[in-house]
C-alpha cells in the first residue's frame, strides 16, 4: 500500500504551507530552481515565511519567480542566504531595498556554511565547527574554538519545514536524479526538510525504474512529486541541448 506521492498540480502541493513556515529553495543560477513551486507559493500567499536559498534572486531580466518576488508580495519575514546584495555595485537586487528599509530580516551565511548547516540538519548533527569566516565581521561576538592550532567558528544546523526542489527525473517512491549542476543544494535541502516537494521535468517513472546505484536523492526524504507541464504552465522547461 505504497502512498501515492504524485500531486496533480503545484497549488495542491503547497496548499498546506502555513504562515511562519521555514522554506528552503534549491537552485544555483538557474539550474535546479523550483520556479513553479515558488510561483505556487506566491499564489498560496502564506506569510511571515523564513526563506533559505543561495540568493534571493538575480538582477537579470526576464525575471523568473524568486524569493524577491515573495518579498514584494509581503510574504517573507526573514531570508537566510549567501547574498543579500549583488557583488557588482551596479546590479540592484529587488530584495535589497526591503532589507535596507528593515521590512525584511536577513542572515547572510557563507555558501559552504549554508550547505553544511543544511547537511547537518539532515544528518542529526546540531552543530559543527568550520574555519570559514573566522576573523571576519561575521564571526564578531560569536563562539570560536581552537582545535589543533587553528581557530574555528561554531555553526548550528538549519532545519527546514518544507524544501522546494527541482529534479530531472523521479520514480513513484520519490527517488530522484538531477541533471548536471541542477543538483547543487537540492539533495541537502531534501535531507534537511520535514516535507520535500519536488517539481520533476520528466514523466514520473514506476518504482524501480531508477537503479538503486543511480539514485541521487533517496525517496525516503521525498514526499510530493509534481510533473512540470509544458510552458507556459510549467516554467523553465526549455529543451536541454546536451545529451543526458
Amino acid at each position: 500500500m505504497a502512498r501515492n506521492k504524485t500531486y496533480p498540480d503545484f497549488d495542491a502541493a503547497v496548499a498546506d504551507i502555513p504562515d511562519g513556515a521555514v522554506i528552503a529553495i534549491g537552485g544555483f543560477a538557474g539550474p535546479g530552481t523550483p520556479y513553479n513551486l515558488i510561483a505556487a507559493l506566491a499564489r498560496r500567499g502564506a506569510k511571515r515565511l523564513t526563506c533559505i536559498a543561495n540568493t534571493t534572486g538575480g538582477a537579470h531580466k526576464p525575471r523568473m519567480p524568486d524569493i524577491g518576488m515573495l518579498v514584494e508580495n509581503g510574504q517573507v519575514a526573514k531570508v537566510i542566504c549567501s547574498f543579500t546584495a549583488a557583488t557588482r555595485a551596479s546590479d540592484v537586487l529587488p530584495f535589497t531595498k526591503y532589507y535596507e528599509s528593515g521590512e525584511v530580516e536577513a542572515e547572510i551565511v557563507p555558501q559552504g556554511t549554508l550547505a553544511e548547516r543544511l547537511r547537518a540538519a539532515g544528518a542529526g548533527i546540531p552543530a559543527f565547527y568550520t574555519p570559514t569566516a573566522v576573523g571576519t565581521e561575521l564571526a564578531e561576538g560569536r563562539e570560536t574554538r581552537e582545535i589543533n592550532g587553528r581557530r574555528y567558528l561554531l555553526e548550528y544546523a538549519l532545519p527546514v519545514d518544507f524544501a522546494f526542489i527541482r529534479a530531472a527525473r523521479a520514480d513513484a517512491v520519490g527517488n530522484l536524479r538531477f541533471h548536471r549542476s541542477q543538483r547543487n543544494f537540492n539533495p541537502l535541502m531534501a535531507m534537511a526538510a520535514k516535507t520535500t516537494i519536488v517539481e520533476v521535468e520528466e514523466d514520473i517513472l514506476p518504482a524501480g525504474a531508477i537503479d538503486a546505484d543511480d539514485v541521487h536523492t533517496m525517496g525516503l526524504v521525498v514526499h510530493r512529486l509534481i510533473r512540470v507541464p509544458p510552458p507556459p504552465m510549467g516554467l523553465w522547461t526549455r529543451k536541454r541541448e546536451a545529451a543526458r
Binding site: 549567501s82 549583488a86 557583488t87 570559514t132 561575521l138 548536471r180 547543487n184 541521487h216
Partner: protein
C-alpha cells in the same frame, strides 16, 4: 601600456602547476578557463559542484542545466564529475583546491582582502568566497590596480570588511604581479611598458622590488 584583463588572466595562469585543482570565482577569474594551459593538466572546480569543466559553450550548444560559479554555460571535460553543494564545499574546506582565483575590491599588504561588502552597505554578497579564502592552498586575487577615482586598491590594511585574514598569495593587476609581504607588496612582474615608478605612484603602500 598595461595588461588587459585577458593578459592578467594569462599572467596568473603562468603560475599554475601541472595537476592543480583550480577554483575560479565570479567575474574576471572566469576568463581563466579560456586560457590555453599548454601541456599542464588543470582541473577546474566550480563551487556549485562541477568538477572538470572547460570553456564557455558556443552559442546554441549550451546545456542549460550546466553552469559554472558565474552562471555561464560551460562544457565538461572528459573525466568530469558532479557533486552536491555539501560535497563541493567539503572539497574546498578539505584543502583540495590548489588555488582559488577571486576578484576583490581591496587587497592588503598583510594578506587580507575584501570582496563581499561595499562601504556603507547593510548587506553584501559572500557566495563561496569566505569558504574558498579560508581553505584553499593558495589565494590569487585579480583586480584593477586603482578605483575609477584613481585610488589604490592595494592598501596597507583593508578599509572594507574582509573576506579572510592573511591568506592572499599573489595579486595580479593591470600593472603587474605582486605578493603581499606584510609591510607592502613584493613586485614579481611588471606589465610591459609600466615602470616601477608608475606602480609606486599608483599604490598606497610600499612596493618592494
Amino acid at each position: 601600456m598595461s595588461w588587459t584583463r585577458m593578459q592578467m588572466a594569462e599572467r596568473l595562469v603562468r603560475e599554475f602547476q601541472d595537476g592543480w585543482v583550480v577554483n575560479l570565482g565570479v567575474g574576471m577569474p572566469t576568463m581563466i578557463a579560456d586560457v590555453p594551459m599548454g601541456d599542464r593538466d588543470i582541473i577546474f572546480h566550480a563551487e556549485n559542484g562541477v568538477i572538470g569543466y572547460g570553456a564557455v559553450c558556443a552559442p546554441g550548444t549550451e546545456d542549460l542545466n550546466l553552469v559554472n560559479a558565474g552562471g555561464q554555460n560551460v562544457v565538461l571535460n572528459p573525466g568530469a564529475s558532479i557533486v552536491h553543494h555539501a560535497d563541493s564545499f567539503a572539497l574546498i574546506r578539505g584543502g583540495r583546491m590548489d588555488v582559488t582565483v577571486m576578484g576583490a575590491y581591496e587587497v592588503a599588504a598583510n594578506g587580507d582582502f575584501a570582496n563581499w561588502k561595499l562601504k556603507g552597505a547593510k548587506g553584501g554578497g559572500i557566495g563561496g568566497a569566505m569558504d574558498l579564502a579560508a581553505s584553499a592552498q593558495r589565494v590569487f586575487i585579480m583586480l584593477e590596480h586603482r578605483t575609477r577615482d584613481g585610488a589604490s586598491r592595494l592598501l596597507p590594511r583593508c578599509s572594507l570588511p574582509i573576506t579572510a585574514a592573511g591568506v592572499v598569495t599573489l595579486v595580479v593587476t593591470d600593472l603587474g604581479l605582486f605578493a603581499p609581504s606584510g609591510e607592502g607588496f613584493a613586485l614579481r612582474d611588471l606589465a610591459p611598458g609600466v615602470t616601477l615608478e608608475e606602480v609606486r605612484a599608483a599604490t598606497a603602500c610600499p612596493i618592494i622590488a
